[in-house]
């Protein structure tokens, strides 16, 4: 009984139930678990179940014991969050600081983040939505979806589909090897959108009032432009330059052996 009481006392995190300074960075590491981090203005730290933790400088570190399946952390929204899981899922929402989520085998879902987001999933999906900061996301063989983002975007995939939906960004870099990139995006200023695949397809839809200079690079007859108010110039067997207005976003859309499509948003 005494040993159990001692173990229970040592497992409790002293910061649980307390305020965390906005400069805090919460780091959670787990072997196999569903880790959920929910930010809310003015919230105090609430770890469920109660777990051991250590505070070093401004870093609050929580190591989840193996065998713990579900971990939920309610935190103040101002902090930064970093979660690493070998197998399992990560769900993070409502954070104003930077967010990092890295899962080996499992899915990542991040929403309502004002800071920068870094996300990795080797064997799983990445779903990021309502992100105000920069995005750096990489998957390998599963869907990578970004919805309603406002910062610069860098996304990389190998054989999974990459979807960029309602993304407003000056700069976008999207690359895949064998899969498709589908972008419904709007520029927020002059910048470069580079979307490139080796054997897949690139499909980009932009608003009718968006000015741009786009170079479509695909095998002969594998490019298609379905837009109003544009001028087109064929440079060689592979390349077509499409211009609307003066200046604007520079687009480089390329598929070595697949198709490239540039469309008006409906």
């Amino acid at each position: 009984m005494i040993a159990l009481l001692v173990a229970a006392a040592s497992a409790a995190c002293p910061q649980n139930g307390k305020d965390l300074p906005p400069t805090t960075r919460l780091e959670i590491a787990a072997q196999g678990a569903l880790v959920t981090v929910r930010g809310a203005a003015g919230a105090k730290l609430a770890l469920k179940p109660e777990l051991d933790c250590s505070m070093v400088g401004n870093v609050l570190r929580v190591v989840v014991p193996d065998g713990t399946r579900d971990v939920t952390a309610d935190v103040p929204s101002a902090i930064a969050v970093s979660v690493t899981v070998q197998r399992g899922n990560i769900e993070i929402s409502g954070i104003n600081g930077n967010v990092m989520a890295d899962v080996g085998a499992g899915d990542v879902q991040i929403s309502r983040v004002n800071g920068d987001v870094t996300a990795r999933s080797a064997v799983g999906t990445l779903h990021l939505s309502d992100i105000a900061g920069r995005i750096d996301a990489a998957a390998q063989n599963n869907e990578l979806r970004v919805t309603r983002a406002r910062g610069d975007v860098r996304v990389s995939n190998v054989s999974g589909t990459t979807l960029l939906e309602a993304v407003q960004a000056s700069n976008i870099m999207a690359t895949t090897v064998t899969s498709e990139i589908i972008c419904t995006c709007s520029p927020v200023g002059p910048g470069i959108w580079e979307m490139r695949t080796h054997t897949g397809a690139v499909r980009v839809a932009v608003g009718r009032n968006v000015e741009f200079v786009a170079t479509l690079d695909a095998p002969p007859n594998a490019s298609r432009v379905d837009m109003s108010g544009v001028s087109q110039q064929t440079e060689d067997k592979r390349k077509v330059t499409v211009v609307r207005g003066e200046g604007g976003t520079r687009m480089l859309l390329s598929s070595f052996s697949g198709g490239v499509f540039l469309l008006d948003q409906r």
Binding site: Q31, G32, Q86, R87, G104, A105, G106, R120, A122, V123, A138, Q140, N141, S156, V158, S159, T175, V177, T178, R196, H198, T199, R238, F256
Partner: protein
């Protein structure tokens, strides 16, 4: 075989002819007459040792399999997927090499694939289990 043991075996077999006696009966006569049964003891000891070794091996294999089943299969899956991704890029690069790398567009695509390969290794570094 020692002289003493030879004598005792001969005594156990007796003066009669043995060529027409079934081997099992001969052996039982020798066993009863000598009461040594050296071979039988040796076999028992060997069986016991072998049995113990087999049981130890089974337990070890069981523990190994159980640990592999319980402990993280994830790093293995991640490695397999990453290797498969790298191999798909390498296959694409090999296919391009058959084309002329002196063609600027092919050379540019090879550079792109090389960058994708480096990016993949950087985004998904090998982790220890």
């Amino acid at each position: 075989m020692s002289d003493e043991l030879t004598r005792r075996v001969r005594d156990a077999l007796g003066p009669g002819r043995t060529s027409q006696t079934p081997p099992a009966e001969l052996w039982s006569r020798i066993a009863a007459g000598t009461s040594l049964l050296p071979r039988r003891r040796f076999l028992d000891l060997r069986f016991a040792t072998t049995g113990l070794a087999a049981a130890t091996l089974l337990v070890a294999v069981g523990i190994f399999v159980r640990r592999r089943g319980v402990e993280s299969p994830a790093p293995h899956a991640v490695q397999v997927v990453t290797i498969a991704s790298l191999e798909s890029i390498d296959a694409a690069l090999s296919a391009l090499r058959r084309d002329s790398a002196s063609v600027p567009r092919v050379a540019d695509e090879m550079l792109f694939l090389a960058r994708m390969r480096a990016s993949l290794q950087s985004d998904f570094p090998q982790r220890s289990p």
